[in-house]
């Protein structure tokens, strides 16, 4: 399926493929990296990839709801980043944890 963008034809599936690749990269980051900060960053990357998919389908179907939902997910991502970073700062204040596996026990 092609999109008419500025007079030239572009294939929708390129956008979707890019989004899939970015999402998978974010998943790799979450699974492989051990610094909790970098894991949060990778989650942001995955949310951005999802946003790209939403906007792409919104353009493809010429339906505005995808863009509205992308805005909603941006709000959720901002809230998630704020709370996650606050938790991180709190954890780092009590102990110096560079490895998320060191935080596996839930004792105060």
């Amino acid at each position: 399926m092609t999109l008419d963008i500025g007079g030239s034809q572009l294939d929708t599936s390129w956008f979707l493929l890019l989004s899939a690749i970015l999402f998978v990269l974010g998943a790799v980051g979450v699974l492989v990296r051990r610094n909790p900060l970098v894991i949060l960053i990778s989650i942001e990357l995955m949310l951005n990839a999802a946003n790209l998919t939403l906007v792409t389908f919104s353009r493809q179907l010429q339906n505005l709801e995808g863009q509205l939902f992308a805005l909603m997910s941006m709000t959720v991502a901002a809230a998630e980043a704020v709370v996650g970073l606050a938790i991180l700062v709190d954890i780092f204040r009590t102990r110096d944890a560079e490895d998320i596996d060191e935080l596996s026990e839930l004792r105060g």
């Binding site: 572009l10 929708t12 599936s13 956008f15 979707l16 493929l17 890019l18 899939a20 690749i21 970015l22 999402f23 998978v24 990269l25 974010g26 998943a27 790799v28 980051g29 699974l31 492989v32 051990r34 900060l37 970098v38 949060l40 960053i41 990778s42 942001e44 990357l45 951005n48 946003n51 906007v55 792409t56 353009r59 179907l61 010429q62 339906n63 505005l64 709801e65 863009q67 509205l68 992308a70 805005l71 909603m72 941006m74 709000t75 991502a77 901002a78 809230a79 998630e80 980043a81 704020v82 709370v83 970073l85 606050a86 938790i87 991180l88 700062v89 709190d90 560079e98 490895d99 596996d101």
Partner: protein, 156 residues
């Protein structure tokens, strides 16, 4: 460009480089949003994401100091397992992309599509209820962040 930045996010050892390459990803994605005639989402992406959220990340990194990541250590098998998992995930997504059936697009007025006005009309009429819910979500997040980052009384 975006893929390069994404690889940078995952591979750089220092968190600050990961953040900067994530900024690269976001700028590239914002250009794509503009290409997909989503002007308002483009502006919000640059202002809110590449501006505010990334500055927040940079502040936290500056606060915590440069924490270099150590070697792989005892969970080496986890890396291989995650590589396998991710390859399967990518394959599944690729297979799904092959089978996507597009329905006939709605006949929207493309000169009006994605402008601030059309977004605002959608946000304040049809989707007023979710919009108000996000305000509560942001309030809760702000209160939670203040609660978590306050100075404890027994710390003093």
């Amino acid at each position: 460009m975006a893929v390069l930045g994404g690889i940078g996010v995952v591979t750089f050892r220092q968190p600050i480089r990961s953040v900067l390459s994530l900024v690269l990803v976001m700028l590239a994605l914002s250009v794509l949003f503009l290409l997909l005639s989503a002007q308002f989402v483009f502006a919000v992406q640059i202002i809110v994401y590449a501006g505010a959220v990334m500055v927040l990340f940079l502040f936290v990194i500056a606060l915590l100091g440069p924490a270099r990541e150590l070697g792989r250590g005892r969970l080496r098998f986890q890396t291989w397992l995650s590589a396998l998992f991710v390859l399967v995930l990518l394959g599944l997504m690729w297979a799904m992309l092959q089978g996507v059936q597009y329905r006939q697009p709605d006949k929207a007025d493309m000169s009006f599509f994605g402008t601030v006005q059309s977004i605002g009309v959608g946000l304040f009429t049809t989707y007023l209820y979710p919009f108000e819910l996000t305000s509560i979500l942001l309030l809760v997040a702000a209160i939670g962040a203040i609660y978590l980052s306050r100075k404890r009384i027994d710390d003093l």
